[in-house]
């Protein structure tokens, strides 16, 4: 195993120091380290963070290997600074049995670029009718702890209650896609001024807020853990704020795109919620399905509320909801396009734009907290002597222009095409082995 000596690097924003990686762990941290056998990486100007952890990734395998595979998604993740991703269950077949989750877990190990932690489905076939064998998935080699019907809401309140209760037996957590299905039948985008103008069926904010409100009450009632996926509205933030104040065991994530993009982009105009990025924003026209996502892009007011919530901790985590889609599923009419956008390779840049160089906060929201929620020991730990060397090196001064064709993902549906974003991942290490060096995937 090669040793790596990273010189003059800022660990989570602290004063520059040297970092020696040997035998899969951080061996030493301190000034002027010497290791003649080590490969030296000049860390001047770079920031080392604990490897990022994504609670919400769609890897599409098995079933839609044309859009993404465990391997291609893992490579995209490593290039984005991630060392662990949680793979959502809405594959084909659905990850609702021990067999499927073990398959995904094994594919992740074979790829060896990030730790792929499968998420299990809550209900059989994501149909929302009866519980999947949650215990079998928990006991499998994949050791599933997060269960989610993501893409679908566990809408039946009784089923949701039972799921929340049942997973307590193995310290599981239900990650809810909060969307009241009757209120979002045929919904195409956020219900508001823009949906009215564009004649698209609205996805009202209340459809998310009503489910979150119900679920925090259920979680409180049965004393279980609840995680809320991709929170998107100011109202949801308020519900979460109150629930947390009451001591409900609820955590929540927000996606990079909900922190930056608003529903106005669907009309082909409208500003980004970021002065720094507004200049190189040039949408291709109205109804471009690259901006179709579920939950939908919301208003500037919602974006502002989400940013505040992320800063003050009401929202715990940035999760990508990386959702690769084949070209034909996006180069079509808006209503026929599949929802979702790529996120793994751009998340850190968006976080840097939204939060600024607040490295401790970025580490908290993108590494430590998601690792704790997912129960991924060895991840989300700041580089220090003896801890597993899962870390990433960022050049915050670099700028890069996003070219969809150059992304490692098999799909091209990034909403940031041709935009120049701040920051660049220089290197990523998984248990001491580089997965990314010089900004390029090692394998």
């Amino acid at each position: 195993m090669t040793a790596y000596l990273i010189t003059s690097v800022s660990v989570v924003g602290a004063a520059p120091t040297d970092l020696l990686i040997r035998d899969g762990v951080v061996a030493e941290v301190g000034p002027d380290l010497s290791a003649p056998d080590a490969t030296v990486i000049d860390g001047t100007g770079l920031v080392a963070l604990p490897g990022l952890v994504d609670l919400h990734t769609h890897l599409r395998e098995p079933g839609r290997e044309d859009a993404e595979t465990v391997e291609s998604g893992s490579r995209a993740a490593a290039l984005g600074g991630y060392t662990a991703v949680c793979a959502m269950a809405n594959t084909s077949p659905v990850a609702d049995t021990a067999g499927v989750v073990e398959q995904v877990w094994r594919l992740g190990r074979e790829a060896g670029l990030v730790d792929v932690q499968p998420i299990g489905a809550v209900t059989v076939g994501l149909a929302g009718e009866r519980l999947a064998e949650l215990g079998a998935m928990a006991d499998s080699a994949a050791r599933v702890r997060i269960f989610s019907d993501d893409g679908h809401c566990v809408a039946d309140p009784k089923l949701m209650r039972r799921a929340l209760e049942y997973v307590k037996a193995f310290d599981g957590i239900i990650a809810q896609h909060a969307e009241e299905p009757r209120l979002t039948e045929g919904a195409q985008m956020h219900e508001g001024e823009v949906s009215t103008r564009l004649g698209l069926i609205g996805w009202p904010a209340v459809a998310e807020e009503a489910i979150i409100a119900r679920d925090v009450l259920l979680a409180e009632h049965v004393g279980s853990r609840l995680h809320v996926c991709h929170v998107s509205t100011a109202g949801s933030v308020e519900v979460l704020r109150q629930a947390k104040a009451r001591g409900v065991r609820v955590t929540a994530e927000v996606t990079p795109h909900h922190l930056l993009l608003t529903d106005e982009v669907v009309s082909g105009r409208g500003a980004l919620a970021s002065p720094a990025l507004a200049d190189n924003w040039s949408p291709a026209g109205a109804y471009d399905p690259v901006f179709k996502v579920n939950p939908p892009l919301r208003t500037a007011t919602d974006v502002a509320a989400l940013r505040t919530a992320l800063a003050d901790g009401v929202v715990d985590v940035i999760a990508t909801d990386h959702a690769p889609h084949a070209v034909e599923d996006k180069e079509c009419e808006w209503a026929y396009a599949r929802p979702g956008m790529l996120g793994l390779e751009t998340a850190l840049s968006i976080a840097l734009d939204v939060l600024g160089p607040e490295w401790d906060l970025i580490a908290e929201r993108m590494s430590r907290t998601p690792a704790r929620i997912a129960g991924l020991t060895g991840h989300g730990v700041d580089p220090a002597p003896g801890v597993p060397a899962n870390l990433t090196l960022i050049d915050p001064a670099a700028r890069r222009t996003i070219e969809p064709a150059e992304l490692a993902s098999r799909s091209r549906n990034t909403p940031y095409a041709r935009m120049t974003l701040p920051g660049r991942i220089v290197a990523t290490f998984l248990r001491g082995e580089p997965t990314v060096l010089d900004g390029k995937a090692v394998k």
Binding site: Q188, E191, G192, E193, V194, S195, T196, R197, L198, G199, L200, I201, G202, G268, A284, G285, A286, Y287, E328, E331, C332, E333, W334, A335, Y336
Partner: protein, 308 residues
């Protein structure tokens, strides 16, 4: 000159007026023995219809043929579920056939906008989902101007299922641009959120048809589909007709000069009674006639010159 006509918002007051003025000249052709002009000889207009709409298709067909264009009717009915050829592949086919203009009717809002990215020719939106139908708004404006002599300062009530109406959206945009005042009337369930902010700031909303009628120059009744009932937008056809249907007694609340419009096809007995539809105030038949003239004007202004 504009290249595509996708939305009522594409038209500023000058362009819209030019279309209406041109339509007035085109209308004289309808009165001639030879109803044909050579202006678009050698041009190819494709009617690409993903929804059945015989009246709109034949209106565009007549308009294109009166201008001597070659017309290809491409009925591409078949939903995304049956997964025929994709819109993009169809667009590339039309492009290869040398279509100078594509007139598109599509059940998905925004499909004409997508199409415009993929063809070099002009795209005319002939109705997309629940979004817009700009040539309908133009023919409505033409009809109002012909009957009432002006558009600026007119008070127009648009009544019914505004939420699902592409006619309403285009009319609000165009009439506001041309200086008319629009009041949208219907049950709250069928009025979309933030409509004034979304389309035109001066637009009013009312849930009470009777209070609106005495103060309008034009009342435009929208088609209300009975299927909306099953989705709880209103309890029953009878209750809808009682609150928002235009019948004889309601019509008599209108000012003497006011006209009654309907984009068709009508649900007689639902939003409009036969007494009203067949009254001298009704412009329903004129609207059809004017549709051809307005579409001639649009096709001429898009294709008549070298506008690339």
């Amino acid at each position: 000159m504009i290249r595509h006509l996708l939305s009522g918002a594409d038209l500023d007051a000058d362009t819209a007026t030019e279309i209406l003025d041109t339509a007035a000249e085109m209308a004289t052709v309808a009165g001639r023995e030879i109803k044909k002009l050579p202006a678009l000889r050698g041009r190819t207009v494709v009617n690409l219809f993903y929804e059945d709409s015989t009246r709109t298709r034949i209106s565009f067909e007549a308009a294109a043929k009166r201008l001597s264009a070659d017309v290809i009717n491409f009925s591409a009915k078949g939903s995304s579920v049956t997964k025929g050829e994709s819109l993009k592949d169809t667009a590339l086919t039309l492009q290869a056939m040398g279509a100078d203009a594509v007139v598109v009717r599509h059940p998905a809002s925004g499909a004409p906008h997508r199409l415009a990215n993929w063809v070099d020719g002009s795209v005319v939106n002939a109705g997309d989902g629940t979004h817009e139908h700009p040539t309908q708004a133009l023919l409505d404006a033409y009809t109002m101007r012909a009957r009432l002599g002006r558009l600026a300062g007119l008070s127009v009530a648009v009544v019914g299922d505004v939420l699902h109406s592409r006619v309403a959206r285009s009319n609000v945009l165009l009439l506001s641009t041309l200086g008319a005042k629009v009041t949208l009337v219907g049950p709250p369930t069928l009025i979309p959120v933030d409509i004034a902010a979304a389309l035109a700031p001066g637009t009013d909303v009312s849930y009470d048809l009777d209070s609106v009628l005495p103060n309008v120059d034009v009342v435009m009744m929208l088609r209300v589909q009975r299927e909306r009932m099953s989705d709880s937008y209103f309890p029953s056809a009878r209750e809808y007709a009682r609150r928002y249907g235009l019948d004889g007694p309601r019509m008599r609340r209108l000012p003497e000069h006011a006209i009654v419009m309907h984009p068709g096809p009508m649900n007689r007995g639902m939003e409009i009674t036969p007494e009203v539809a067949d009254s001298p105030r009704s412009t329903i038949v004129e609207q059809v006639t004017n549709g051809v003239s307005v579409r001639m004007a649009v096709l001429y202004l898009l294709l008549g010159g070298n506008n690339r």
